[in-house]
Structure formats: C-alpha cells, structure tokens
C-alpha cells in the first residue's frame, strides 16, 4: 500500500525511537497528550509505548466522539428510535454505547428499527427508499465527520427529501483542548494534534496552543512513524524551549485546511451555546447544531427530545481517565465490571477509547515493559 507500509517501516521506526531517546534531557519528564482517539488506538496497537524512553509519558486525550458522548444524549437519540415509523441510523460504534435502558443494539433486539450505516449518505438513501418512514441519523464526530453530515443535509434539501433528519452530536476539538489547558494543575508539556480533524480545519486553529499557552503542538498522522516523529518534534521543541505549531502530516494536511468542507460546515451548522462532554462537563460553544433554516432536517426540532441529563455511574471513573488524571487500569471498574463485552463507561466502547485500547493491548505492553511501572502511578491533574 502506498505510504502506509512506508510509515510502518521497522528500520525507520527504530531510527526515530533512537532519536527520541537521544533528544530527551535526562532527569526531565515529558508529558504529552495525544488528543485524538485514533492516535490512542494506534499507540496501543503498535506497541509504541514500548519504544519510548521512560521519561516520555503519553496522556490519552478526549478526541473519541463515542467516549465523550454523555449518557443523556444516547437516551435522547433512543427516544427517537422508540417512535412509530422511525428508522434510527448510526455508525457501528454508537450501537454499543450504553444508554440508561440499554444500548441501541439492545433496543434493536427489543424491536426498535435501528440500523448501522457506513456513511450519512447511506441514511439519506434509506430515507429515499422508505418514503413511508422517517429516517433519523444519529450523528457523532468531530470536524472530520461533521462536513459529511453537512453535505448530506444539503443534499437532502436539494433533493427535497423531508422524511430525513439528523440528531447532531457533532463536537469541535478546540474548545475541549482549551478546557483541558485551563484545568487547574494542568501538567501537559505538549500535544500530538489530531491529523484527520486537521485535514478539514488545517493547522491554523491550533495556533492558540503555542501563542496563549506556550505549549508546542505537532499535527500528526496515524501510522507508527507519524506518531513517533511527532513526539520527536515535540521533544526537540521542548528541549530547545520552543513552542510552535508544526505539521508532521503534510502529505494530507495543509495550514488552511479544506475550504470546501469548512464552507459546508459554516452553511449548515452553528455553535451550540454549550454542550456537555462526558468527563469534562459543560463546555461553551463546543458542539454544532443545525442552523434554523435547516429545522426541517433537525431531529431535535422535529421530535422535541427529552433533553435528559444522566449522571454517570459513580463507580466508573471515565472522567478522570479522560482528563488524564488516571490511567485506564487504575479505574475501579477496569477489566472487571467494565470490559469491551459489557462496557459500563464509553471509554470501553469505542476502539478509540483509551480503556478499550488498553484492555485489548495492555497484556502485550505489560510483557514488553516490565521495568517501567509508570502505569501504576497516577498523573496528577
């Protein structure tokens, strides 16, 4: 595969890992957050923790759409599925997120018409094929996914499809990063920036991280070499006392991003005054709702969802893990009550969730790094 195998080349990976070991200042600890859940998955899957020096610590960030979706929003979406004549559609990982009375899959087993789609366009097609039904798309995702939803809504309007709506849970990453940077006792030194989000937004929206907070950020791709190189770039900046925004993923990401996608987002969506993030609480202007002129396709306007707020089970410590205050295995429920088969918290649901990734790959990591022991030490937040 073109530019996939190359970015998994063991020789180059070893080169970069060695350069990181050479670059770090001994006696200094580097705490780097990979913002995106895709990075978290890749880091565990490829065992990248094994090749990093012990004083480089990775903290897993909030960039996993399923993981930050509060239970109340799942319940709201499922209330739509319970209506007569409605087909609720969603991506595969949403099917397994627990609401108060079960997951969408369990609702489906009880008779609700809930279907998995690969693309929002598939949901629209389903609406065109089932004109006697209403098809609602349960939309999740960051800036990477939101343009696809926007274009699907524009297409629905252009085609005059009115038995279709979107339950928007789209969120934006910059306000969440600000919330983390503003949290008391923040100990992060730098960020591996979300590469796929940046294909849409470009690198520019991250400039505030360096300018206002004095932290470096490197936008990175998702292959092992991408992530390691981004860490090397961060370490070099930190050693030199610099804080800049750099682009490791230049083969796909430009500084300005994808203007057509940005325009589609702007046309269809407006920021919500506030939105609740699991683990992070309410963050102003951190999510997207349909503009009033698209009310026809807005599930929240059409169905008046209950808007319930549900407190997470107090035993689950998703919030602490999301903020990087706890490592996944330090949660009371990890691997016992909460596991990928029976997830209690959303971090165990999505493969991009830190807990699911840790559960799936941790054994291998534990075997490979018997001397590290950092997993047992909480990161102070």
């Amino acid at each position: 595969m073109k530019y996939v195998d190359e970015y998994r080349d063991p020789v180059l990976i070893a080169n970069v890992a060695r350069e990181i070991s050479r670059a770090v200042a001994p006696g200094r600890h580097y705490r780097i957050m990979e913002v995106c859940g895709g990075h978290t998955h890749s880091i565990y899957r490829h065992g990248l923790l094994d090749v990093l020096p012990p004083n480089v610590e990775l903290v897993h960030g909030p960039g996993c759409p399923v993981c930050v979706l509060p239970t109340g929003r799942v319940d709201d979406g499922l209330s739509i599925a319970e209506r007569d004549g409605v087909i609720l559609t969603c991506f595969g990982d949403v099917l397994r997120v627990p609401g108060t009375r079960g997951t969408p899959l369990e609702y489906k087993a009880r008779g609700a018409d809930i279907r998995m789609v690969y693309s929002p366009l598939d949901a629209l097609r389903l609406a065109q094929e089932n004109t006697e039904k209403h098809v609602c798309f349960f939309a999740i995702g960051f800036e990477t996914t939101a343009p696809s939803t926007a274009l699907t809504i524009l297409r629905a309007r252009a085609l005059g499809v009115t038995n279709f709506s979107v339950f928007s849970n789209h969120v934006t990453i910059v306000p969440a990063m600000r919330a983390i940077l503003d949290s008391p006792g923040m100990l992060l030194d730098g960020f591996v920036g979300p590469g796929h989000v940046a294909t849409i937004s470009g690198c520019r929206p991250y400039e505030f991280v360096a300018r206002e907070y004095g932290k470096p950020l490197v936008v990175a791709g998702f292959e092992p070499l991408d992530i390691l190189q981004a860490i090397l770039m961060l370490v070099r900046q930190l050693v030199a006392g610099e804080a800049r925004i750099e682009n490791e993923y230049a083969r796909f990401v430009s500084w300005e991003g994808n203007r057509a996608a940005q325009a589609a987002l702007e046309t269809v969506f407006a920021p919500r005054p506030t939105f609740e993030w699991r683990g992070l609480g309410f963050i102003p202007e951190s999510a997207l709702e349909l503009r009033p002129e698209f009310a026809m396709w807005d599930a929240e306007r059409r169905f008046a969802v209950p808007g319930v707020r549900v407190t997470d089970p107090s035993a689950a410590q998703c919030g602490e893990v999301l903020k990087g205050a706890l490592k996944p295995a330090q949660c009371r429920l990890f691997g016992k009550v909460c596991n990928p088969e029976q997830p209690v918290g959303a971090l165990m649901v999505s493969s991009e969730g830190a807990c699911a990734a840790h559960y799936r790959y941790a054994e291998r990591a534990a075997e490979a790094e018997p001397l590290r022991g950092t997993e047992a030490e909480p990161v102070r937040a």
């Binding site: 996939v4 180059l12 693309s119 696809s148 274009l151 083969r251 057509a260």
Partner: protein
C-alpha cells in the same frame, strides 16, 4: 461527484466533491465515512521519508534495529482498520461523474 475507489481490495463509490484538486485514476486519497477529505501530497510524503531515512545512516543504528523490529506486525491494512477509524487512505481506480451532483 463520485469516484470508484478501491479500499483494501473492495471497490466502492466515494464522494469526491470536497477535494480541492481534481483526482484521476491512480491517485491515493484519504476517505472518511464515504467522503474523500484529502488527496495525498506525494512530494511531502517522499520528502519526509527521505529525511527519516537519512536519520539512521550509521551502521550501529542498523544493528540496533533488530532489537526493535515489529516482525509479527500485519503489514497490510485490514478490514479492522476500516471499522476502527472509518478513515483510511486508498486509491482511486475509476471515476464516474454520473448521478450524484454535489448540492453545495
């Protein structure tokens, strides 16, 4: 605007309306939930790989590599990747301009 794209051996239609430059058969693109988000910048990729290669040209480094080799790693992207992040890079095989006009 649709293009026929081969993803891990499976061909399917992908909306390429968001791409700012035209695509032709043989191009590699980044796909997410049925839409192409970006076309690979081959020059950027080649420059980066060349730079990384240059990083380890001493012999000692090559010896050290054996300690790190991920020999058991599956080298090809599998269907699991597709499910995992819904985003992947693949090649445009064919292109049709037929039924789907972008509505922007």
């Amino acid at each position: 605007m649709l293009a026929k794209v081969e993803v891990s051996g499976v061909r399917r239609n992908v909306n390429v309306g968001l791409l700012e430059e035209p695509v032709v058969p043989g191009d590699w693109i980044l796909i997410h939930v049925g839409f192409a988000l970006s076309k690979i910048g081959e020059e950027a990729a080649r420059d980066q790989l060349r730079m990384l290669q240059a990083m380890g040209e001493d012999e000692l480094a090559m010896d050290e590599v054996r300690g790190y080799t991920f020999a058991d790693e599956v080298r090809d992207r599998t269907s699991e990747d597709v499910v995992r992040d819904r985003t992947f890079e693949d090649v445009v095989r064919d292109r049709t301009f037929a039924d789907e006009a972008m509505s922007t």
